[in-house]
Symmetry: C2
Subunit: 423 residues, 2 copies
């Protein structure tokens, strides 16, 4: 398809008919493909089936019977593996339940109800603002909205959030209490934060003494094309005496089994002590059998990295299909652009302004379910209506090929409709 700008009205109308027909053909296939979430495909899950086989010894290295109560913050051997994976000292790690999202939620709840390190509980303040990178993760936004935190969108550049803007807002307004973001292979753009961005986050001056960076490091080891490495934000923050600023979250949801993995939070000593004290009121401890099974299955961090290479080998052809289809269909006609992540779970597609909702709607009507077009923006509001998240992991290869054809068809049709002022 040529560029729209070069077409006459008649040509546009002819193309509209052509692509509507193409789209209707797809519609008749009565597809039912769910690409709405970053769910691993079943081949990825099969890699961890050893975990389903159970364990024959239920003692941890310090001879604790993991079948009984106790050990609030996690088994030492589980901490050790996370420590090696993420380059954070074991003493700065608390192992949680099955969900990093839940750990983030609990952190916000504590900040609202109790405050942190002697500061006023956020629920007692007139207003609390949180910086949100856009596009970003819809569940983060839903959480901030739920907790009544005002979200301020900050554009995500190629090397991370617009740090000039982050620094300015954080310094000028003490109601700005933090930033929530995914620093490696960001959801949904796949952005890798540069060393400079990480250092500026660690270094910047903030008006709020209880400013917090919620680093959802969900894809910390989820490389596909290239192994990118984040600068060590804890070491940098310590250098600038801002170590209490960082909460980092990680889970094995996309390493082993989503929903039955192991989540963790890493933070400074003071933060860890505070969280442990509060957590001791909330629970007696998390599932240690799960923690031990994980250790018995993987044994060490190296084996996890090998496992992640197997995951990458399954994901890469899927990402290839998406990128190749987009290049073939849109490489020259400027109807859309897209990100080319080195890892993570998503590719972000930028349509012509005002077309994203229509693309998602058309795709849905043709049986391809994608994430809502606004959902990668706070309050579900992308003023440009140009952003679509593609999650290639869940469908089988053949399904994905078809889905990408459908999506491409939808993009063409929506673009022509837009040009014809039919949207």
């Amino acid at each position: 398809m040529p560029e729209l700008k070069s077409m006459s009205k008649d040509e546009l109308l002819a193309n509209y008919d052509k692509y509507l027909k193409e789209y209707n053909n797809y519609k008749e296939m009565k597809l039912n493909l769910d690409m709405s979430r970053g769910k691993p495909g079943s081949k990825q899950l099969d890699l961890s089936n050893g975990l389903l086989e159970g364990i024959d010894d239920y003692h941890s290295i310090n001879n604790i019977d993991v079948r009984n109560y106790g050990v609030l913050d996690g088994l030492p051997e589980t901490k050790k593996i996370f420590s090696d994976l993420l380059n954070v000292p074991e003493k700065n790690i608390i192992i949680g339940g099955n969900s990093a999202l839940n750990l983030i939620y609990d952190t916000f709840a504590r900040l609202l109800l109790f405050g942190t390190l002697g500061n006023t509980p956020w629920s007692k303040l007139q207003k609390v603002k949180i910086l949100c990178t856009v596009p970003g993760y819809d569940r983060h936004f839903a959480m901030c909205e739920e907790f009544g935190l005002e979200m301020i969108p900050v554009p995500l550049n190629e090397d991370g959030p617009d740090m000039d803007m982050v620094e300015k807002l954080s310094l000028e307004d003490d109601a700005v209490k933090g930033i929530i973001c995914v620093p490696l292979y960001s959801n949904p753009t796949g952005t890798v934060y540069s060393d400079e961005v990480i250092e500026r986050l660690a270094k910047m001056k903030t008006a709020a003494p209880d400013y917090r960076i919620f680093l959802d490091n969900a894809y910390a080891i989820h490389h596909i094309y290239k192994k990118n490495k984040l600068a060590n934000i804890f070491e940098l923050a310590e250098k600038y005496k801002n170590e209490d600023r960082i909460y980092m979250y990680f889970s094995t949801s996309k390493v082993t089994f989503p929903g039955s993995g192991i989540a963790m939070i890493a933070a400074s000593q003071k933060n860890i002590e505070e969280i442990k004290k509060r957590m001791s009121i909330q629970t007696i401890g998390h599932n240690k059998i799960n923690q031990l099974s994980f250790v018995k299955f993987f044994k060490n961090a190296d084996n996890i990295m090998s496992h992640m290479e197997k995951q990458a080998a399954i994901l890469k052809p899927k990402f290839d299909i998406v990128i190749e289809t987009l290049e073939k269909e849109f490489g020259e006609n400027k109807l859309c652009t897209w990100t080319k992540p080195d890892g993570g779970y998503f590719i972000t597609l930028y349509t012509l302004d005002g077309c994203a909702k229509e693309v998602v709607k058309l795709a849905k009507e043709a049986g391809v379910i994608m994430t809502g077009a606004g959902s990668t923006y706070p309050y579900n509001n992308n003023p440009k209506d140009n952003c679509v998240r593609i999650a290639p992991s869940y469908p089988y290869m053949e399904e994905l090929k078809t889905a990408m054809e459908v999506i491409s068809s939808c993009i063409k049709l929506a673009s022509i409709k837009k040009e014809l002022k039919m949207l």
Copy 2:
């Protein structure tokens, strides 16, 4: 040992010397027995070792792959078992993570931050008061204190809380927002709430429209000597149009493995809808592999009840030792009284006023760790200082025999010290 009141000063002093010597002999044994918590013993845990063997099919009855994301409120087959066990419709059940305590905590956090069913969030109110049965569960009290809820102690009678007092306080003061209690085999007294008490809880008028009864039904199926059955509070509450008043919690922590069991909350339709909506922001779902393993291991509620009889067979001799030792040592001299629960995990011992702390202190110095003497009261404050919680489940039989001898010795010594005004 005869009654203290019948002794002369010289007799008291002679007995003091005698029991101090006896106590010091125990001290020299350098024991190290932990009876501080209601931890199951390892023979109880062995009953569930089948759970460690894993599963060979990872599909739920509706063919969901439990290894992947989804199913916020729990697998249908898991709900079915809880429904059969507790006589609550499946639609009124949400399956949680590994900890009922955590579900209670989350409920309080939601009430504080969001309120319920359109009522003002509790954190926006000047004062929120919660009725607490005394003696009661220390972790409930710690939680109320953490959340800044003012605890009002309500005496626990033989058939449950003093309902005249509960009704009066709940009707007269709209800052009284609820009551937290363990209705069957209460921690620590083993009290069974009578049908009348349950009906009054369901029926009573309350000043606060968002009054809530937090029923921690931790020992719902944990019978030992006799199978007591609670009246169905949900049906009663519905009859009096108070069905939104009830939150009921249960977990398999003391059915299978503490810390890696399955927790649940039961509530009215409106409450369940509200919780699910809020929970959908907090997590994508809880550990479904754990839920499925549980179902595959037990298959149905009947098998769980048989399993609980095996648990009872292990616990009964331990409760027997405690009761028999106390009857032998204190049956006639009135130095203490005690509860004789039909089930649950605890026996409560009432010493002479002002002796409980001394008993716990002496026991600790002789290597027998018990729960802190005040801890079964809000703010750790039992004005009479007369209550000691005995948790017989964790020690081996021989250890428990020794521990009960030590505790008896401590009671005698503390009682004589008290009589001699040495305390």
